[in-house]
Amino acid sequence: MKLRTFKGGIHPPENKHWTSHKAIEDCPLPDEMVVPLSQHIGAPSVACVEVGQHVAKGQEIGSAKGFVSVPVHAPTSGEVAAIADFPHPFGTSLPAVVIKPDGEDSWLSNLQFTDPGSLTSEEVIEKVRLAGVVGMGGAAFPAHVKMSPPPEKPIRTLLFNGVECEPYLTADHRMMLEESERVLQGVSLLQYVYGAERVVIGVEANKPDAIALLKKQCADTPVEILPLQVKYPQGAEKQLIAAATGQEVPSGGLPMDVGVAVHNISTAAAVADAVMLGRPLIERICTVTGPAIKEPKNLRVRIGMPLSHLVEVCGGFVEDPGKIILGGPMMGFTQVGFDVPVVRGTSGLLLLREDDVTKAAEGPCIRCARCVQACPMNLLPTAIAAYARRSLVEETEEYCAMDCIECGSCSYVCPANIPLVQSIRLGKAAVLAKKRKALL
């Protein structure tokens, strides 16, 4: 049976064998945890605790600022040691709250079970917001904002992203295998809020055990389990929408423009925790993997755990790593050091050896068009990159640079090692700067 898919895309080596069979392990608490106040798309939170104050696990330590923002919570009980700028996964130093765990790990006292049937949609969305739930696929977009589309854009199809197309990462895979009840509870909660006609969970065909398990558990429900062809970037939301519904999100538009909403399955689980148990989002599954780490694992980590602690828990290095990536090898953020903490969107920590890093020099473009074939958004990466590098902002915009999802497929296939995504990113920044200048 031919599996559904999207146009374009690439087939990088999966490298999931390091951790796909390993059950989730709890990560012990470190001596110090640094919780950044900005872990999501939108306005950073503002600290609402003081140095020296004792906080409980799950207590709000940073309040949301505005609608597109979420609060930040203490990942464990302990004392606030400092509130200052600390190294952040984005590369710069940003405000964070440092907590010294007291070992008790005691939850906030007023958390209680709520029967979801007794809540209205608005109450559900508010609980999700208070819990600080953001997209767990890596983008970290506030979930409550996504759950509040304008009334003129009704959601007819609700998609759940269990694809995990990034090589090396297996966090979502293990979630679906080991915590499918939480995931499905979240699915039904979200379906309650959206009221969509069709609910689909998309899973790549390289996870047959997860597909079988979910199919069994959803046998008598209207939830469809849709196996998808293994191709990167199937997990990108526009590509998932194309494969599941055959629709194309218009240029510059959002999934709600075609009546679709997409949520990661881990986000669904977090929603279930938030609504039913009142628990804020303070932990997630993170795949620590790569040839440079001794014991690759799927760890249940808390926000604020330093990367150095994760490395220690996984047995340390096989050899000095050549590259440290937070996320997957295609779209992850390269890190400068290990003193950076885990944040809500950290789906993986990839450690590559010196030999695994490509250092080939850049050659001239030979117009082979491999990038054009690979691009999942039907763009011309070679043209956009060429215009961006020559600072021809008008042409960069004309060639739809703003539609690029920065998936990295073009850079991956380029035989001349041209840094296409980096050039396109520069072009996008130039286009945005020009638009901002025009508004002034």
Binding site: C365, A386, R390
Partner: protein, 193 residues
């Protein structure tokens, strides 16, 4: 009717003024850096060519030949073309100052453009009737514009290429022009003569 179609196709593709007859190379290389400018130049030349054909045809058959002063053909034709170009210059400067700036010196140079004079003379040489002359002029102008716009498009793409140092600028443009000319040879034999 079929004859007129043959003349049209021949003038645009088979015997393209720029790429097959090699007339009008000056604006072809000078104005073809951007597609908008090339299009503007093409339109100006179309106007000049068409009106010049009409006027020179009448001039030839109603003044030069009856009075037996065919030897004044070149001077008289240039006089007509020069006046028309001056008119076009004034109109362009008024209507589109941007185009006027970007065409620069090449606008008045349409006067000395061998394509325009060549068209006028060819019309007489081929003994075309008035209607045939008009169609020939329109075809020639369209072919000229086509060649310019195609070449401008190619040159815009060349801007993005890593051209070897010794080939940069005019050199690679000339090589490309030669290749374009070669491509248009594919039309040879489409129309007899």
């Amino acid at each position: 009717m079929a004859d007129l179609l043959v003349i049209l196709v021949s003038a645009i593709f088979v015997n393209n003024f720029v790429l097959a007859r090699f007339l009008g190379i000056c604006p072809f290389l000078g104005v073809s850096k951007k597609v908008e400018t090339a299009l503007g130049m093409g339109m100006a030349v179309t106007f000049v060519m068409t009106v010049a054909t009409v006027v020179t045809w009448f001039l030839q058959y109603f003044i030069l030949i009856p009075f037996g002063i065919e030897y004044l053909q070149t001077i008289a034709f240039i006089l007509v073309i020069a006046s028309l170009v001056q008119l076009v210059e004034m109109v362009v400067q008024k209507v589109s100052p941007v185009l006027y700036q970007s065409l620069g010196i090449f606008l008045p140079l349409i006067t000395t453009n061998c394509a325009v004079l060549g068209l006028a003379v060819l019309n007489i040489q081929k003994d075309y009737t008035f209607l045939e002359g008009i169609v020939f002029a329109i075809g020639a102008a369209l072919g000229f514009t086509l060649a310019l716009v195609l070449f401008a498009g190619l040159r815009e793409r060349l801007e993005l290429c890593a051209v070897p140092r010794s080939f940069r600028g005019t050199a690679i443009a000339l090589v490309t022009a030669g290749l374009l000319s070669l491509a248009f040879m594919g039309f040879a034999g489409l129309v007899k003569g």
